[in-house]
Symmetry: C2
Subunit: 402 residues, 2 copies
């Protein structure tokens, strides 16, 4: 067939439509051959089998004309509300923030990927991630959480820091409001199409965010919010800020997934403590207890960490190797990078061991073990046992069965 | 002169009277030559000059007869209220708990010492320190701190754990009350003579503690409470429990000195978080943020750490080398052991460095640096600066002057 004129924006809008994010295979293919050739090759079924498999569900039975038309339609839908499609080829693409995914991939981490492009309302502030703090927490936050989020977000924004958050009620809403109240900048990352105001009650807030910062989404216009999309979106929240601060989170809060994503990307994770009697602080306390997060009580604590990352060399040093558990991994341990796998393998099936024993067995330093073990814990692979570490019950059970 | 009959108890009561605790020189001399010969040698001025210097202030111008009489009088005063003098020669001496001082001394730590003997009302529970948790916090605690202390202390005591605390209002009082309320055991360590009820309002409480546990003091009967005695007493609080839990503490709370003492002795230090808006939790947050304490939200968190120490081998491993700043050190860095001194020296006068840089410069492991740096911080020698560490302002100023 003759290809119609395809520019980068049409190609990337099409690629975004062809595979549910995160789409590591498609993203890698586009990065390798270029977005326009990648799009054309998928449309014409000439792309490598792995790429065709990754896009099969959304291209099967559809004519090339349909796929081109859909891409153009998505761009038109975005244009209708004033949104643009920001592409990696653009100078304002947040390269420094999203390079973290490539760095993770280079460490052998699988299952995650940068966005193929981002629909943007407003203007994405420059100098991400070091100019930004990602502020997250529960929708059903307490009055204490709300006050604390407002205070910290307001002070950070007044200090020129970009506040990144989702678009949900609770901590997200409070963080944006407090930043906007001091004429600060904020960025809202959505888990639905950029044309969907979700929740509807936040329509005015998102309009205000757009004026003083940006609303962004990697989902094609019209995409409905869904639970899995919030989890996938969380990696972008984590990527855009150099520090991720969890203000309030229950033990099963989605904010813990953002914190885990931030760890995978080598970001600094911080958490605000609260009354031990508050279930809304239990997730924060878990993160701090397991040294997966640094305790933060105020904006100054956060600025302290953020300023420490201003030096690019220090920032690079901070990006230590941590594992990511790929969504497509067959076993929970499949996604581990080599260092993490060594540390995991150093923990015997039937006993608890000290950090020192882990270091000796795995041949790693104490700092490495202390950095990795909490991440393995967040992924449910290991557990603390007094001063020791042991396999998580489910992992030990699996080992003991074999 | 002819010595009157001197038994161990008279000798140690006399030694306790001759030097203000902690009396490392006197304690070491008594351990070396035996308590009776040590007492006699000091009385007759035949002890080594360092020992005579350490006891000069309280023996100068006093006849041997006076010194013997004073010791007997102290024992009689104790006996009058039903207290006994527990000595290292007794089988019920808490050897395992107080060996920590010898272990610290063996690491080159100076300035601290075990008690020469302990006046005891009631019965000191066996299996210290592993059977006990030291629970401390501010006198002027909040309602939140009081509730949390009561809940944790009650649950620990109900689980058979001995609760160790001071005799002050606030967290101390609450901890004892909650332990006694569930028929648990508690130990109160006083900073005054065992015959002084301080504060007076706690007379009934201390009487109850005595029935279900013990009230102890290393101070001779009649000794008045004084600020410096609370600081010295704190090392015994830290020594008697395998875990020291700070429930609430302001930034300048004396509880932080107990936490520092616990670190010196290789004890597990834990702290309860609270609302970031509460000044009463600021000290706890400081300890947790700087990883000098493990976050604890409930009795289970504490039991988890305590159980992990049940294994004597693990417990020994836990006793890593940490510095102690001797009260008699001329410069703040004089009391540092060699590992701590190496780490301190690795921090340049005019720049902040990463943990990795400290490790390289000092030739230590990450685990060692991560264990020691927070202790140096508690002592005001170093400060955190973003992701880095630097000399504390006052130390840097001193260096820059020279």
């Amino acid at each position: 067939m003759d290809h119609p004129t395809v520019d980068i924006r049409i190609a990337r809008a099409g690629l975004l439509r062809m595979a549910e994010p995160p789409a590591p295979v498609v993203a890698a293919y586009a990065a390798k051959v270029g977005s326009i050739p990648a799009f054309k090759a998928i449309v014409c079924r000439t792309a490598p089998p792995s790429v065709l498999r990754a896009t099969a569900a959304r291209t099967a039975g559809r004519q090339p004309e349909d796929l081109y038309a859909q891409a153009r339609h998505d761009l038109a839908s975005a244009d209708a509300i004033g949104a643009t499609l920001l592409c990696p080829e653009d100078s304002s693409w947040p390269t420094a923030a999203l390079t973290a995914f490539e760095m993770a991939a280079a460490r052998g981490v699988t299952g995650s990927a940068p966005p193929i492009a981002l629909y943007v309302l407003g203007n994405l502030p420059p100098n991400l991630p070091t100019a930004a703090v990602t502020l997250i927490g529960s929708r059903a936050c307490s009055g204490y959480g709300e006050r604390t989020a407002a205070e910290i977000s307001g002070e950070l924004a007044a200090d020129g820091v970009v506040v990144v958050s989702g678009g949900a009620f609770g901590i997200d809403t409070t963080a944006h409001r407090a930043a906007l109240a001091v004429d600060g900048r904020s960025v809202a990352v959505l888990a639905c199409g950029i044309d969907r105001s979700y929740p509807v009650a936040n329509t005015a807030l998102l309009a205000a965010v757009r004026k003083q910062g940006a609303v962004v989404s990697e989902y094609p216009p019209g995409t409905t919010p869904a639970r899995h999309r919030f989890l996938v979106r969380n990696r972008l929240l984590a990527a855009l800020g150099a520090v991720t601060l969890v203000v309030e989170a229950g033990r099963r809060s989605g904010s813990l997934s953002t914190a885990a994503a931030a760890m995978h990307l080598g970001r600094v994770v911080m958490a605000v403590p609260g009354p031990v009697s508050s279930a809304m602080s239990a997730g924060c306390h878990l993160l701090i207890r397991d040294r997966a997060a640094i305790l933060a009580t105020c904006a100054d604590d956060v600025l302290h960490e953020l300023r420490g990352l201003d030096d690019p060399k220090l920032f690079a040093e901070q990006q230590f190797s941590v594992p990511i558990i790929g969504a497509d991994a067959r076993r929970p341990t499949d996604g581990l990078d080599s260092l993490s796998a060594r540390i995991y393998d150093a923990i015997p099936a039937r006993a608890a061991v000290t950090v020192q024993q882990v270091c000796e067995s795995a041949g790693v330093t104490g700092a490495e073990a202390l950095a990795i073990l909490p991440v393995l814990h967040v992924h449910g692979l290991v557990e603390r046992d007094g001063a020791c570490w042991k396999l998580a019950t489910r992992m030990a059970a699996a080992v003991n069965r074999t």
